[in-house]
Every structure is written in C-alpha cells, then in structure tokens.
C-alpha cells in the first residue's frame, strides 16, 4: 500500500483551476467574439414579454426551509455514519460485527425516528403541509 501524499490532492486543485480558467477563457472569447448592442429592453428580466413588476426576491414558502432542514439533519447523520460504515467490514472480520451492528442500528433507528416524526406531522407533504398543521393546531 502506497501511503497517500499531499501531492495526491493536486489533481483536485488542478481541475478546479482548469474549471476557473476555462470559464474565464470562455468568457474572454465571448467578450471578443460576441456582438455588444445593449439596450434597456433587452436586459429586462424575461417575463413572457410583459414588463416585470417588482423584484423576484420576494418571500418564499416555509416548506422550502423545512425540506432544507430535514436534509441538513440527514446530511449530518450520514456524515457521521460514513467512518463507521467504512470500518464495519473490518470490525466484522475482527469478530465485533454484532457490536458494530448494534451501534450502527441504534444510530439509524434514531434517524428513522426523525423521518417518521416528520412524516407523521406532514412535513414531507409538499402540498398538504399547511392544511395538516392547521388541523394540528385545532386539536
């Protein structure tokens, strides 16, 4: 096994730089090649030919946030599960598979509890979430 070196991280940086350079290059090319005839009407935001009214930066529904919320919790839980998952086979070979399984399953069970809660409370319903929570409050 060849130990990893920091040079192994080089491709990531190189590729990112290539992406940036490519972007700049393309941009530069378009600056050179593309015609430039700006007009006010041309640079209004597209709204099916109508004059846009107001800014698009308005308030959005909370359900977007709730989805993001569930996502971030799951994201973090999966982050914590990754190291455990990658030593799972090793522990199993060492004869500690049962222990690892219990640890792992109890972790996952709490995860499942979270999704079950959100499911029950209607946070996973895109349309109904508002009505469901209205009913909840009436109880």
């Amino acid at each position: 096994m060849i130990p990893a070196t920091f040079d192994g991280l080089m491709p990531i940086v190189i590729l990112m730089s290539i992406a940036v350079l490519l972007f700049w290059g393309g941009h530069f090319a378009s600056v050179i090649l593309a015609p430039k005839k700006p007009s006010h009407l041309k640079s209004t935001p597209y709204e099916c030919g109508e004059q846009p009214v107001g800014s698009a930066w308005s308030m959005f529904n909370v359900r977007f946030y709730v989805v993001g919320l569930i996502f971030i919790i799951f994201d973090v839980e999966s982050v914590l599960m990754f190291p455990v998952a990658s030593i799972f086979r090793e522990m199993n070979d060492m004869g500690q598979g049962g222990y690892a399984l219990i640890i792992f399953l109890s972790f996952i069970s709490i995860l499942i509890e979270g999704i079950a809660y959100c499911w029950k409370k209607g946070d996973l319903d895109w349309v109904k979430s508002y009505q469901v929570s209205l009913n909840d409050n009436n109880k």
Partner: protein, 101 residues
C-alpha cells in the same frame, strides 16, 4: 514548512471577523453567519492542535462534532429567525424585545 502559528493566526483572524460580524450586523441571519465563522475558527484550532501537539485524532473528532453541532445550531437558529420574521416582519436583532419588561 507551515507552522502551528500560521494556523492559529488564520483562526484568530477568522474569529475576529466572526466577532465583528456578530457585533456590527443587525440582521439575525448575518449574526448566525458570524457564529459559523467563530465555530469554524475553533474547529480549525482543534485540528491544528491535533496534528501539531497531541498527535492523535481526538481533535478531529472534536471538530467533527463541532460541525455537527454547528449544523444543528444553524437549523434551529434559522428556524427561530424565520418564525421571528413571521411574527415581527423584520429580522433586526434589536426588535427582538418580547422578553423585555
């Protein structure tokens, strides 16, 4: 070679930036941004010490959990901000005066 001091200085600057954000900004979301910066400064210190001082991975574990807690804190904090906005129609921190008096 990179020394421990450089990491500490970076972390210090991060912390100071976060501190400035937290004090100077009046937007609750921006204050949360400052908190993230401060937490990251701390986590960076943990990892740096883990490599330069203790030579074990406990610092990594610490910063892992800092990240976890920061995520949880951001989730709950932003939820509170959103709720606050729904009630008060503003995210200005000095308007959060319900508990006054």
């Amino acid at each position: 070679m990179i020394s421990l001091a450089s990491y500490l200085v970076i972390s210090l600057i991060l912390f100071a930036a976060g501190l400035t954000v937290m004090i100077a900004r009046k937007n609750l979301v921006a204050i949360l941004l400052g908190i993230e910066l401060i937490l990251n400064a701390a986590a960076l210190n943990f990892v740096a010490y883990s490599r330069y001082v203790t030579n074990n991975l406990d610092g990594h574990i610490f910063s892992l959990f800092i990240i976890v807690i920061a995520a949880a804190e951001a989730a709950v904090g932003l939820a509170i901000v959103i709720r606050f906005f729904q009630i008060k129609e503003t995210v200005h921190v000095d308007e959060a005066t319900q508990l006054r008096n």
